[in-house]
């Protein structure tokens, strides 16, 4: 049954228009409530302020700064990244979306929404963190590229997992539990690369970026193939 549906994939233009429609819908819903973005930014601000206050304004070592930055970004975005699918389930719009939209369009729209959300959180969190934690960045270009590539890899990896969690009843801690092991390699490489960018020793920078981009490409391809098995009921 699933394979038959897979064979009846819509044409490129139809998929594109559905994709755009779904993205606009997600952005409008988010703009109305601002729940995902708002919670992520407030969480990030509170955590950064708390760490800055406890440190007493004394700057940490680059490696520690990189760890704190990524932990704050990751945990502040986690709620928002799962929200795209859990909201559909909570509001009862999941069935409607399943009937009227192709699974490929749904997946791609949620992926683009999640990447945009994570990047937006990063755009706010990174400068605020740099100011409050007195981060003296030696290689700004490499830092920006690492943060962007790490955000892309993280958002790509968790989109399919968010759909699974929504099927499991949208339990919050479950999303962190099932996503953390798969995102750990990304966090590991991103933290290492960010630390190098801050301290200005990014000799292996291109290798880290290559890893993050290769990871993102592979994860998006696998998720694209597997998404319909999670999304569609037999």
């Amino acid at each position: 049954m699933i394979l038959q549906r897979r064979l009846s994939v819509k044409g490129g233009s139809a998929l594109g228009s559905e994709l755009v429609r779904n993205i606009i819908k997600d952005v409008r819903v988010e703009f109305r409530s601002r729940s995902a973005l708002g919670v992520a930014l407030v969480f990030a601000a509170v955590t950064t302020l708390a760490v800055s206050m406890v440190s007493g304004g004394v700057p940490f070592e680059p490696k520690v700064q990189a760890i704190l930055l990524w932990l704050i970004m990751y945990f502040s975005a986690m709620n928002g990244l799962a929200h795209g699918f859990t909201r559909e389930a909570d509001q009862g719009t999941e069935l409607f979306l399943r009937i009227h939209s192709d699974p490929d369009a749904v997946y791609l729209s949620k992926l683009i929404f999640n990447i945009s959300l994570f990047m937006l959180v990063q755009c706010v969190v990174t400068p605020v963190f740099a100011v409050l934690m007195q981060v003296d960045v030696k290689d700004t270009v490499h830092l920006v590229l690492t943060v962007a590539a790490g955000g892309l890899a993280t958002a790509s990896a968790v989109t399919l997992l968010a759909a699974m969690v929504a099927k499991a009843g949208g339990r919050g801690p479950l999303f962190t539990v099932i996503s953390l092991p798969l995102v750990l390699p990304v966090l590991w490489v991103s933290i290492t690369a960010t630390g190098r960018a801050i301290s200005g020793t990014a000799a292996q920078g291109s290798r880290d970026l290559l890893f993050l981009l290769a990871f993102s490409g592979m994860v998006i391809a696998i998720s694209f193939i597997l998404f319909r098995f999670v999304w569609l009921d037999e």
């Binding site: 499991a168 092991p181 798969l182 750990l184 390699p185 290492t192 597997l226 999670v230």
Partner: protein, 220 residues
């Protein structure tokens, strides 16, 4: 010949080879003989995980009468993989204490095996969270395939991209096995023994799953 007969002969032989026939490891002495247990259980833990993923692929695309009980088999393989990955972490910690002076050093390869352990824990969390819902087998199968696709990144790429404390006897730039002949043979015998042990336990668990299903069907 049945798998358990071979196992009953080969496993004691491997243990004798590991303790009595293979020479002591350079600089570590007899303590280094743990290599004949640590490396095979690590291989089996990754193999069990890959088999779970492959069975999940078969389940998603071909499940039905052609390949029955695939979801149960995949779950059973993951259960055994969890057991072997715990054994890998324990034996690896003992070896690390002997070689490097502490039980845990966050060496890239140690980190990789911990990530594999966390993946297994996450899989079982998802499995229990989905309860007995109709989509449980499908969603957990997707998770296993998704995680399996990431194994190359944390099992093979990361340990080779970042400097590691681990000795590299099996895969290295020379593509040579840097072990003495007797050690190489003992390691091979031990790896085959543990693989057979895994398949033996796997077949027992599969038979139990079939019995459970039959009992369940009779009650319904």
């Amino acid at each position: 010949m049945r798998i358990n007969w071979i196992l009953h002969i080969l496993m004691p032989v491997s243990i004798v080879l590991a303790f009595a026939w293979a020479p002591p490891v350079q600089a570590l002495g007899d303590a280094g003989r743990i290599i004949f247990f640590h490396v095979p259980v690590a291989i089996v833990s990754v193999a069990a995980f890959l088999l779970s993923g492959l069975l999940s692929i078969l389940y998603l695309f071909y499940h039905g009468e052609r390949f029955p009980m695939l979801a149960e088999k995949s779950h059973n393989s993951a259960c055994l993989g969890m057991l072997f990955v715990i054994l890998t972490v324990i034996t690896g910690s003992i070896w690390a204490r002997i070689s490097w002076g502490s039980f845990w050093n966050w060496d890239p390869r140690e980190t990789s095996i911990v990530i594999l352990l966390l993946v297994y824990i996450a899989y079982f969390s998802l499995h229990s969270a989905l309860g007995r819902s109709g989509s449980r087998d499908r969603i957990t199968a997707v998770y296993l395939i998704f995680a399996m696709a990431m194994v190359p990144f944390f099992a093979f790429i990361v340990p080779r991209v970042y400097p590691s404390l681990h000795p590299d006897p099996i895969i290295n730039p020379d593509r040579q096995v840097h072990l003495e002949e007797r050690m190489k043979l003992t390691l091979l015998a031990s790896a085959v023994s543990f693989m057979l042990l895994y398949f033996y336990m796997f077949s027992i668990m599969n038979r139990m799953s079939i019995l459970k299903k039959k009992i369940g069907d009779r009650h319904e």
